[in-house]
Amino acid sequence: MAVVKPIYLTAAGGIEEADPATDTISGPLLPSIVKTLSIYPPASGDNELFLYTDRALTISNVRAVLIGGGTSVALTGIYHATTRNSGSPNTVISSQTIDSFSTGVSWNTFSDPTVPANSWIWCVLGTVTGAVDGCTIAITYSFD
């Protein structure tokens, strides 16, 4: 087994070995990445960070589940912006209800799932109904 460097066709038609220090592989070839965030216990107004990315990415799925008791948690939204506390961030998804205690609720239709480089991605929770022990939200994304 070896750690290999791919080769690629240059614009001039030649073949070169990729340089890990400077080159990146085209995004659609890479597997999806999942970032999971858990909040114990969730509370209305919770504003929690998923990640900061220095590369552009696209979110393809959001899945959420509750743990323990209670009834539901409102997902006010998942947002992205280059400023963490932006008053007008871009909305990935908004106004959803998390009420699954088993396999989770899943969404794959979004308002703005394309996240530019150098962006923060975070979520904001709304009303929590009942004594919910925990709320887990997982975003699946791939680099562009």
Partner: protein, 137 residues
């Protein structure tokens, strides 16, 4: 700096990998997921991750800071609150060292669409933090 498109061999010829292709996941290496649980409490059930693809948990590394020991179980199942979830260890793993503990894994094959979580079974002393690292691929 460039965004490159790797090459592969198809029918004896070298060609560029297209967007419709995917790379054999075995070439991508294992993913490591780390969580730190501050001030673990008996009965806590803490989600480690959601894993959309079938995979294996190759290694689990545990450590703790402060106190005497903490015993943890790790489960995986499509149902996050299942009471018959698959256990990763034969029995709860007790971590009583600041060094790395590598428990023997029991049910380490996970199906696509699986939640993985930890349950704190017991805590002795004032444990400040439990660290869990899973190597999945």
């Amino acid at each position: 700096m460039a965004t490159i498109r790797p090459l592969h061999i198809a029918n004896g010829e070298i060609s560029q990998i297209s967007d419709a292709d995917s790379i054999d996941t075995g070439l991508l290496g294992n993913e490591r997921i780390s969580v730190a649980i501050p001030n673990p409490q008996i009965g806590q059930s803490l989600t480690i991750c959601w894993h959309p693809q079938a995979a294996q948990i190759w290694n689990c590394y545990l450590s703790r800071r402060g106190g005497t020991s903490v015993t943890v179980d790790i489960y995986h199942d499509a149902d996050r609150n299942s009471v018959t979830a698959n256990a990763l260890f034969f029995t709860g793993e007790t971590v009583s060292t600041d060094a790395i503990v590598t428990p023997t894994l029991l049910g380490n094959v996970i199906t696509g669409g699986t939640w993985i979580w930890a349950v704190i079974v017991s805590v002795v002393g004032s444990v400040e933090e439990l660290e869990i690292v899973l190597e999945i691929g």
